[in-house]
Every structure is written in structure tokens, then in C-alpha cells.
């Protein structure tokens, strides 16, 4: 897994590449937490190049979401491929997260 972080206005975009599992979810957690603690109020996690996620990756995202909610920020996800979307749906996380088909839609909505 490799994370590239971009800023667009006040939105922090996490572009993740590869597979998110117990091996690398601690790295994702650390980078998310660091951005949240710095006070970021808008985070978009771009899944375009994420091929796999397991429950440790989901736990990391849920933790991030809950931290963001607590400080009245917003965390969004976009570009989940079908097999990853299936996993979110089965775990009923598709209602918990704001999930967008494209980065543009997410950015438009966050800019409001």
C-alpha cells in the first residue's frame, strides 16, 4: 500500500494505492490521525487504486470517521470498485460513510 496526500483548498485527499490489510492499516491510521489532529475538517479518501480491503482497513476508516464527526469535520470516500463496495454493503457501512462514485462529485459536495 502507498498513500499520496494532496490538498485542494481546505480538502485533504488521501489517494491510496494497493491493498489495505493488517500489514499496512497502521500506516493509514497514523496518517489519518495526524491530519485529523492537525485540525483538517474535510478528508476525502480516494479508493481508485485500492484493490483490496479487510476488516482492519474498515476499522481504521471507522475510527477516522468517528474522530472527524467528533470535531464536526467530514470524511468522505470515493471511487470504490465493485468488490470493495460489496464489502461495505455486506457490513452495512455503505450507509455509515458518504460514498461518491467520482472524486469530482465528492469534491463538489464538500466545497458547498
Amino acid at each position: 500500500m502507498h498513500i499520496q496526500i494532496k490538498e485542494q483548498g481546505d480538502i485533504v485527499i488521501f489517494q491510496i494505492e494497493g491493498e489495505i490489510d493488517l500489514y499496512n492499516s497502521p500506516g493509514l491510521r497514523q496518517q489519518l490521525t495526524s491530519r485529523i489532529n492537525k485540525g483538517s475538517k474535510k478528508i476525502l479518501v480516494d479508493f481508485s487504486n485500492v484493490k483490496y480491503i479487510d476488516s482492519s482497513g474498515l476499522a481504521t476508516l471507522i475510527e477516522g470517521l468517528q474522530k472527524m464527526n467528533r470535531q464536526k469535520g467530514r470524511m468522505m470516500l470515493c471511487c470504490l470498485n465493485q468488490s470493495i463496495m460489496d464489502i461495505f454493503e455486506v457490513a452495512r457501512l455503505d450507509d455509515v460513510f458518504n460514498i461518491y462514485n467520482t472524486a469530482e462529485e465528492a469534491l463538489d459536495d464538500m466545497a458547498k
Binding site: 490489510d21 493488517l22 479487510d54 476499522a59 468517528q66
Partner: protein, 146 residues
């Protein structure tokens, strides 16, 4: 030339998360060899990943240099997987998924395993640790996996 069961693969790895990806690729290919659909093959791979993740986290409490034995049986009617650890044992009844409505980090691994596989059985009768057996049948009605 000892006979060896053509349908059995043995694998031993250390309890290090860096090996998860490698095991996933083995499981995915076993499932595809058995002509499971790509979707079901990916699901089975997730179930095994979750089982190994739990062994690392809960049986070995994060120690990286403990042994995990994985046995894969590619049978006519089912893919059967045994995952043996030699770590802390708990009463299998306490191994439960969280309630999906109670959203919090964690508690989804066992949920996926049970959702995906037809049978998930923990055996703590060995003096040394836990053996988890998971089975996915070939003629799946789709009921358990959807």
C-alpha cells in the same frame, strides 16, 4: 516415493502481517483452480485473511514470530481450510461478531468469516492451541454468501 494427497497444500508462516498478501494469493488461486467464481474466490480469500488476522491479534497478541500452519484441501465438493495456531486459547463461544448496528472500529472479522463460509468451527481440544476449520461448498445455494 511416499504417496502425497494431490489435493492437499500445506503452508507454514510466521505470525507477521507482511505474509497476509502472499497467503491471500495462494487462497485466491486455490479457489479459482476449483472453479469457484471470481466473486466467491475473493470472498473466501477475505475470510482466510480475517482468520489469520485474528490469530495474529488475539492468539499471538501481535507477536510476529509465532507459527501458523495452514492446510488447504481442494476437494471435489468443497474447499476446506484448517488454520492452526499454538497461542492463547479462548472459549469459542466468546468469538462473536459485533452487532452491525453498533458501528465501531473492529468486530467485523468473524462476521465476514461466518457470512462467507458455510462452516466455521473452532477446536481448542489440542493442548497446544486452536484449530480453525472453514469450509466452502462447491454447490453453494448462494444463501450463505449473499
Amino acid at each position: 516415493m511416499t504417496i502425497y494427497d494431490e489435493n492437499t497444500i500445506l503452508m507454514s508462516i510466521a505470525s507477521h502481517p507482511k505474509y497476509l498478501k502472499l497467503v491471500r494469493s495462494v487462497i485466491l488461486q486455490c479457489a479459482m483452480l476449483m472453479n469457484f467464481s471470481e466473486k466467491i474466490s475473493k470472498d473466501i480469500t477475505l475470510a482466510v485473511d480475517e482468520a489469520l488476522t485474528n490469530v495474529i491479534k488475539h492468539s499471538y497478541m501481535g507477536c510476529l514470530n509465532k507459527r501458523i500452519d495452514i492446510t488447504i484441501y481442494l476437494l471435489d465438493d468443497r474447499l476446506e481450510l484448517k488454520i492452526c495456531d499454538f497461542g492463547k486459547k479462548v472459549d469459542p463461544k466468546t468469538i462473536k461478531p459485533r452487532n452491525l448496528c453498533d458501528v465501531k472500529p473492529g468486530g467485523l472479522g468473524v462476521f465476514f468469516m461466518k457470512k462467507i463460509m458455510d462452516e466455521v468451527d473452532y477446536d481448542i481440544s489440542s493442548p497446544k492451541g486452536t484449530t480453525l476449520t472453514m469450509i466452502k461448498y462447491k454447490e453453494d445455494t448462494g444463501e450463505q454468501s449473499n
